[in-house]
């Protein structure tokens, strides 16, 4: 078995020991779409314009929910480093005959699958229960975005999970980061009407790039040139985070 395949198998065996993980990863975003989406659908639909279109709020929210699913999967996966530290296996893993890069990529593979299943569930709910019109022709772009953005968030959060010694510090950091990243982005509302400081911050937020990518690939909202720039920025962000995560593993001891 190759190194990456063995890491994927290890993650799979670990994840199936706790169904609670799967519930959090797969069903929480769906609950968000159903409860939050339905509530705000009544309040906001028809009250805002995005790139010349007037979308229903559940349609507008769906890409954000997929981004949320992916961030949640990445958060839980990176949190797994603390379980490895607790069980003592973390340092032993560093002596196995695989590169740090292979180890991190292996951890991503199984979790991309979880992200994809979570995203598909959200899309299915949107299409069949909320009548969201999906651009099926852009599905390969959605798939590519799921892979890259799961990797990007996981590598970013891994840097902190590896470097921080205390789990409560990591939880505080991720909770704070989650709120800032979600709310200073295009996830819940269009940012065109927001104050300048908010818009500038949102433009430098990878969550904005991710949500815009999904909004374009699922609904066709957005201009291709901007989406291309945001996609390239997210790929660069992923590569930089991978380099720092590898460095963090190298310096873990």
């Amino acid at each position: 078995m190759s190194g990456i395949a063995a890491v994927v198998y290890r993650d799979y065996r670990q994840r199936i020991t706790n169904i609670g993980f799967l519930f959090w990863d797969l069903f929480t975003p769906i609950a968000y779409l159903t409860l939050f989406g339905t509530g705000f659908e009544r309040l906001l639909t028809g009250s805002f314009i995005v790139d010349g279109q007037v979308p229903a709020y559940t349609s507008f929210l769906l890409p954000g929910v997929i981004a949320m699913t992916i961030f949640g999967v990445a958060m839980n996966t990176s949190w797994g480093f603390f379980m490895d530290k607790d069980s003592g296996i973390f340092y032993e893993l560093l002596t196995y005959p695989i590169t740090r890069r292979q180890f991190l990529i292996g951890k991503i593979c199984f979790n991309v699958l979880l992200s994809a299943v979570g995203s598909l569930l959200a899309i299915a709910l949107g299409v069949f229960a909320m009548k969201v019109q999906i651009r099926w022709d852009l599905l390969p772009l959605t798939a590519a975005a799921i892979i890259v953005t799961t990797a990007g968030w996981f590598f970013l959060l891994s840097i902190f999970a590896i470097r921080l010694r205390r789990m409560d510090s990591f939880n505080t950091f991720t909770s704070a980061a989650y709120i800032i990243l979600m709310f200073i982005s295009t996830m819940f509302y269009p940012i065109a009407e927001m104050p300048v400081w908010f818009r500038v911050t949102a433009w430098f937020n990878p969550m904005t790039w991710q949500v815009d990518l999904f909004r374009f690939s699922l609904l066709g909202i957005g201009t291709p040139s901007t989406i291309l720039l945001e996609g390239a920025a997210f790929v660069l962000f992923t590569m930089v985070c991978l380099a720092f995560a590898v460095r963090a593993l190298d310096r873990a001891a």
């Binding site: 340092y91 032993e92 002596t95 005959p97 590169t99 873990a252």
Partner: protein, 313 residues
């Protein structure tokens, strides 16, 4: 060919305060292939840091270390392909069962599924794990977890094995079994570097022993070489019919022992010098105080270790 080569290895840890901790301070040694090499030292001597560098977990500040000719800093992956490691702390997949622990360890070391399953049976039998095979590791006792951790390395044929206080927490029977297995593996040509605080273990197992403290090599050689360091060193155990009062202790201290421990009716002393003259002085003491038991024996590894470490401090 040497399996392990270490030259002037230094490791300095920077802490949040300005103090730098010098964990290794210019250590050099070689371990020939097929040798069982023991690393002895008190807590904080630098043993685990040395193992961490040799197993590529951390990198040295300066100096060079190589495993089977591969530099640990320049070719870490190649080094990791040649080694199996038992670290000091318990390292097991607590959420998985014993079988998954052994199999996943093998898979992560590139062993094919079928081969891993074939090896599993033998390792499980040898380490008495067949009853716990389907049990989740977090439900096992500390000793059994340690057994799983040590059993894992025998799923592999890695030419170099690192054991960092590997038998800690094991019952005496299993400890003996692990020691027998280590001897067998060394006879097959595998090289073993072990750190331990159980001196009898080092005494029974190791071909060569190095004693380190505060990151520096204090002594090394075969057990015979080290014994030569303690020539004219011997331990005396005395039991008295009465208690050991202050007067008796000061009379014994006047004999200038390296170490003196008085407890109840017994006194344990370590001496360096000519045995005959000392025995004469003890005979003189026995004329005024009744000695019920008298034992003299040559210094073992423990005495050598304690003296060297004490002297270094």
């Amino acid at each position: 060919m040497n399996a392990i080569e270490v030259e002037e290895l230094r490791k300095v840890y920077r802490s949040n305060t300005d103090d730098a901790v010098r964990a290794l301070d210019g250590v050099s040694f070689q371990v020939p292939q097929g040798c069982i090499y023991g690393l002895l030292g008190p807590n904080g001597a630098g043993k685990s840091t040395l193992v961490k560098i040799l197993t590529t977990i951390t990198s040295p500040t300066s100096g060079r270390a190589a495993v089977l000719g591969r530099d640990v800093a320049l070719h870490p992956l190649e080094v990791r392909q040649q080694i199996a490691v038992v670290l000091q702390q318990t390292a097991v997949e607590t959420l998985l069962n014993v079988q998954d622990n052994l199999l996943i360890y093998a898979y992560l070391h590139g062993i094919r599924r079928r081969e891993a399953r074939e090896r599993l049976g033998a390792v499980v039998d040898e380490f008495d794990l067949s009853d716990q095979l389907r049990e989740t590791v977090q439900d096992l006792s500390i000793g059994t977890k340690r057994r799983v951790q040590v059993a894992k390395i025998f799923m592999l044929d890695s030419p170099v094995i690192f054991l960092d206080e590997a038998t800690t927490g094991m019952d005496p029977l299993m400890r003996r079994r692990v020691m027998d297995r280590i001897r067998t593996e060394a006879r097959k040509g595998r090289t073993v570097l072990l750190t331990t605080q159980v001196l009898s273990e080092a005494e029974q197992l190791c071909d060569t022993i190095m004693i380190i403290d505060r990151g520096r090599k204090l002594a090394f050689g075969t057990l015979q070489d080290l014994r030569r360091l303690s020539e004219h060193m011997f331990r005396v155990n005395l039991s008295f019919s009465g208690g050991t009062d202050g007067d008796l202790v000061s009379r014994l201290e006047a004999l200038k022992p390296v170490e003196l421990k008085a407890e109840g009716k017994t006194v344990e002393m370590l001496f360096r010098g000519e045995q005959s003259s000392l025995l004469e002085k003890l005979a003189e003491i026995s004329r005024s105080i009744s000695i019920t038991q008298f034992e003299v024996r040559g210094a073992g590894l423990e005495e050598i270790f304690l003296t060297l470490v004490k002297h270094a401090k």
